[in-house]
């Protein structure tokens, strides 16, 4: 199995704040990989480093063998990134947004057309795609953004809290999208979440992040066994030290 993401001893400082503290991570190709951890654990920072937005202070991160610092432009060609709590251009319609974003990946008009059609199907917004983004609910916006992240068939999709703040139905829908479209299209997914249930059902593998480090890693079932817990929530509490 090939490695999609390999982070080795990554640290990241913001001034004096140590956001990542020797983080190690390995994501295999084709996996849906989940990062879980308390607020401020460094999940977002980790994802931003992998998506070439931030430079690691030390350590290396490789995405399909490409270094995020040295080969950033190459890395950007094979990834997509969905920021935490992201929005879209408020005064564009959903269609226009997808078309705008498709310009960056499609090589010609036909490709662009196909991509936008597909993204429209993925998000399932139907006629509402013709309305301006500012009229969308939070859940609709997230569906649009997830669709756009999967639209260019990236080799790696990095999704920061794809279901954060959404209701049960929208979360369910989005999990369905990720499962269906990532698996069928050879896209590796690296996501973060606060929802243990979600991670347990959706992810092939999870890593528990705390204080800038990965403190436990493995398949959900393995982790449960290892810590003798009934669910990941319990594992989380044990590892992070609440229980």
């Amino acid at each position: 199995m090939k490695t999609a993401v390999e982070a080795t001893e990554v640290t990241k400082f913001f001034g004096n704040i140590k956001a990542l503290d020797g983080l190690n991570l390995k994501v295999n190709t084709g996996e849906i990989f989940g990062l879980i951890g308390p607020n401020g654990a460094g999940k977002t920072t980790c994802l931003r480093v992998i998506s070439t937005l931030l430079l690691p202070t030390s350590g290396t991160v490789k995405v399909f063998g490409l270094d995020v610092s040295a080969d950033a432009p190459e890395v950007r060609k094979i990834i997509t990134y969905l920021p935490e709590e992201a929005g879209a251009y408020r005064n564009l319609s959903g269609w226009e947004y997808l078309q705008f974003m498709a310009n960056f990946s499609a090589r010609n008009k036909d490709e662009k057309y196909v991509a936008v059609q597909e993204a429209a199907e993925i998000c399932g917004l139907g006629d509402r795609l013709r309305d301006k983004v500012k009229t969308y609910s939070k859940g609709m916006k997230r569906r649009l953004l997830i669709a756009r992240a999967l639209m260019p068939k990236p080799r790696l999709a990095i999704l920061d809290e794809p279901t954060g703040g959404l209701d049960v139905l929208h979360s369910y829908h989005i999990r369905g999208i990720i499962k269906r479209y990532a698996k069928n299209r050879d896209t590796t997914v690296l996501l973060s979440s606060h929802n243990m249930l979600e991670v347990e059902h959706l992810c092939d593998k999870v890593a528990l992040v705390n204080k800038g480090k990965v403190v436990a890693e493995g398949k959900p079932a393995e982790l449960r066994d290892k810590y003798g817990s009934v669910n990941l929530e319990d594992v989380f509490a044990k590892v992070v030290g609440l229980a």
Partner: protein, 429 residues
Amino acid sequence: MLKGFGTVLTKELRELVRDPKILLGMIIVPLIMFPVLGSIMSFSIQSAAEQAKKASALVLDRDGGIYATAFMENLKANGVKIYNLTNVNPEEAVNRGLLSEYNTTQIIEIPNGFSENITRHLAGETNVTTYVKLYSVFSGTGIVEDVGSSLIDLLVERLNRQYAPDLMKTSKASIIKGQIYENVDPRTLSGLMISQAIAMPITIMILLTYSMQIAATSVAMEKEEKTLETLLTLPMDRFAILMGKLSGSILVAGIGALAYMVGFNYHMGSFASFSAVSGLDLASVGLAPSLLGYVLLGISLFVTLLSALALAVILSAFAEDVRSAQSMVGYIYPFLFVPSLALMYVDINMLPLAARIALYAIPYTHPIIASKAVTMGDNLTAALGIVYVAIFTLVIMYVASRLFATEKILTMKLKFKGFRKREKSAVAE
């Protein structure tokens, strides 16, 4: 009572007071701005008074009589430094460049027969009168100017009181771009130009503040909605993001500059109709920009808008949201308002060197200076201003492009305590 009013008010005040940007914008800026403006104004009035004191003039004594000498003595007594020339008429004086040779801007002509006419008047021939004629160079604009004209009026009035009423009159002519225009009082001209001197800075202030807000908001929206973060992870040249955003604003600025030029043209046109009443046509006396002048003014305005927009983009890149982006851009306003308001009152050339350098260094003054300059036919000043502002803009754009090439665009925040310790310089593309 309104239930809950007090609670909301308390919270609101607490929040406002704790936002240093608001404090700075609402309190500190006016506290600094008005004293600065005040001192500029009092300086300009003072310097005008001083200028009157050490005023000088070429006196063309074509009479040579005792009253001519007496008149000149009176001028001297009033602090006017005079250069007495005989056998020269005003046209010759202008054409031979005597004004610049003697470093003065006024010619006083005492006509042939001045003394004789006074003698006859005083002897009872009261229908015989005489005059002195003032030719002054019309130089520029500014609300406080042209003391010479009033001084001559004052002197003549005083002499009339001394000798006989209705003895002497003043006659005025203006020298505009080396050409004498009879019966044109420079004061009337100034009056006409003042409205322009005020209209220009106001329009520029409005245009610049407006377009900077637009640019800042558009960048801050990208940050607030995290669409910038998305763009930065796309396989595209990061400089293209900056240029794309700037070009959008440039388009707005271009339309703004165009609309402004149309307005300016109309404004100059309204002078034409005004001058029909006063019998004065500014265009015919050469006080209207040439076509090249208009073009230069348009370019000057455009590059200035561009520099302001680029700066607005950079500043708002430091802000996390729209509100702080707007107050960030507010820091530029004093640099826009103070010079604009100052230039309404004074001509830049009247200021001391340090103030002049400061004004020239601020790019936003250049369209104002250019608008005066091209009206006076001085296209070079406008062109030099364009070069300076263009260089300024290029530097700003370079800084902006460096900013967009690194992670600083996402992590850097302007802090009041100064910049945080910088991180190791980030990767270049």
